[in-house]
Symmetry: C2
Subunit: 438 residues, 2 copies
Amino acid sequence: MTEMRTLKVALLGCGNVGAQVARILIEDADALAARTGARLELGGIAVRNVNAPRDVDLPQELFTTDADTLVKDADLVIELMGGIEPARTLILSALRNGACVVTGNKALLAQDGPTLYEEADKAGVQLSYEAAVAGAIPILRPIRDSLSGDRITRVLGIVNGTTNFILDQMDSTGAQFADALAEAQRLGYAEADPTADVEGHDAAAKAAILASLSFHTRFALENVHCEGITKVSAADIAAAKDAGFVIKLLAIAEKLTDAEGKEGVSVRVHPTLLPREHPLAAVRGAFNAVFVEAENAGELMFYGQGAGGTPTASAVLGDLVSAARRLVLGGPGRTETTTGHVPALPIDAAVTSYYIGLDVADQPGVLARIAQLFAEHGVSIEIMRQTIHRDAESKTESAELRIVTHRASEAALAATVEAVKGLDVINSVTSVLRVEGV
Amino acid sequence: MTEMRTLKVALLGCGNVGAQVARILIEDADALAARTGARLELGGIAVRNVNAPRDVDLPQELFTTDADTLVKDADLVIELMGGIEPARTLILSALRNGACVVTGNKALLAQDGPTLYEEADKAGVQLSYEAAVAGAIPILRPIRDSLSGDRITRVLGIVNGTTNFILDQMDSTGAQFADALAEAQRLGYAEADPTADVEGHDAAAKAAILASLSFHTRFALENVHCEGITKVSAADIAAAKDAGFVIKLLAIAEKLTDAEGKEGVSVRVHPTLLPREHPLAAVRGAFNAVFVEAENAGELMFYGQGAGGTPTASAVLGDLVSAARRLVLGGPGRTETTTGHVPALPIDAAVTSYYIGLDVADQPGVLARIAQLFAEHGVSIEIMRQTIHRDAESKTESAELRIVTHRASEAALAATVEAVKGLDVINSVTSVLRVEGV
């Protein structure tokens, strides 16, 4: 038996994912060697404070604050520090040294991915980042490789566990957003500063990555229209529930063709109504799922744990084993193709269905006037339902009108809503939400 | 711009999948070239009868009966003839010529996979077969690559659309097996001779492939314990429904550790009760889904269309593009690892929960005697429910006893059932079904 080659692994960062990656590298060393054909030797773990407490008991001598030296000496670099710098500089330095890089840094990829991909191409090494989207769920490799002979038309993802947990709480308990957020924070599903999650920024970074791989074109964070869940009210959820829908924060990337036949991709994150029987509607709590539609494959769904140290470490290790196998067997790094050249569309060009809640005067002819206005703006109504609330004591009446439209462009919808607001029979527009899956 | 290389593709077989593969190769030639870096030229389609009617209108000059010559001339060979011979000889010949092979032939892989894998290894070329399991769903590549740094502990798959459709019909309409089968045949979901589907043979071949990739050990068809759905009665389905379960035909591969700590893998196909809230329970009709449990990743599910010409063609094309990219970029073929060396366990060693239906005498002490007997055989009861049926006219009474056990070995369960049959208070054992997901 020939002696097995050793590959040096540098780990940058030792948070909840990094600590589990280090544990698995040590505990499963033999199995990993059997699968890659090389021993993966953890050369060191770069951290800011070598004495900080860790989730896992790891040999103290592995820790160092000198990330630069660690990277210079490595065949494989795992970056799990997060943030833009120094992660960006360290990854570029690793790639230039000919090391393969595995990262879970969605913010960096969404902001400056192209620079990293080009550097990896130039060096002929592999840059992989399965852990950056939907934690443990194998989604990037299936999109990049398994569906490489197909044309993806649409991706709908529940890719943020925090917001999914909050919306799920609101749906099942009737809680308001603030109370559900507090509960999520108490249980550790939301951070003290929840902005990145609840404002949709985290999901937007993942949407940019999913769109780039799905449509063979590099999309950046600025191409993603982003709305969070802070304005979703208990009343919205209740009304959606009543109409057979559930509200989810979706990352959406879909190909659209305009009237002249020009193709573009709409990439966006926003609260979305889904029919309760849609496969994504059943994705509860901190779980993630990505629903993919392709011309030939039809509908596919990938489901699993979207966060957590151990699940996300599984995705990191999968990338690491793949990169190590390639180093052992030889051959160039695998990169995604970028020959799609489809433009990112502004949110105005997005086409979807809408749910509109209106507080209207209860008088004859109101429905007809509103329906007429929608028709004039080219927005076709699928469902219109009026509920009259009678207050027995004050003897006042109010009417609530709920409309679900057929698919229409955002621009047409926005113009319709503006016009509706101008009607004297309208007290207020209580909600405008997008609908998918109908 | 340098001139693009051309790769010659030989297609063997032109059934419903083959015809779609040919169509896509022709229609999407430019997109496929952009993604692979080479033009994929369909050199010919080998069929038995060049004048047979096809699902798709294809250039007549592509058809040939001379598969040998076609294969000799090809860089990439797609085998979609099915059956053992001549598919086996043609694939081996292609691999020896240095061609990459893509196949969807589960029967051949399950029966003689190791011969093919070894030939591919020897020639340093790629043999891929994503289309062989669960049609369009990317499942083999995620198991082989994405989860390569994790330890899979269990795979549960709904991998046969015909039986899933039949069981779904029985569940929703209360139909007997024979009637649901007739309906499936009428709608084209079941073949005139449904044996391979309803007896579980098709699912067993897929179980062997899933087990081999999941546990890094080559399992053959003879390692798979196989029971079909022909004995599942409307009464079984009704009783399962009443208890909150649904009956699915599952392909199962799971790692077990015996009392001495020795590891083995149980690979089996049988009708299985699943709680209605289990993610697999919602997989309806002709859809497929594979549920994977891994030590670090936790629970994952992959869902999509399990059959059909166009969806399955998507999986074939994904493999083809991957193989073509490798030929363009250079580097050795990717094969699965077989360093697991875990033994296949006989069905007696399988450990699961059971549902047992008993027709018993309605007299005091019966429940206690049965419970005592279970305990003596080391099988622990989780739920025991008795229903008394009183026939008003004949004034007779019968008692139906339904038991769900905790996890126990097949051997212990079989011994328990034998002993129960010997009790004088037992009229008959009406059903014994395995339960997963509790």
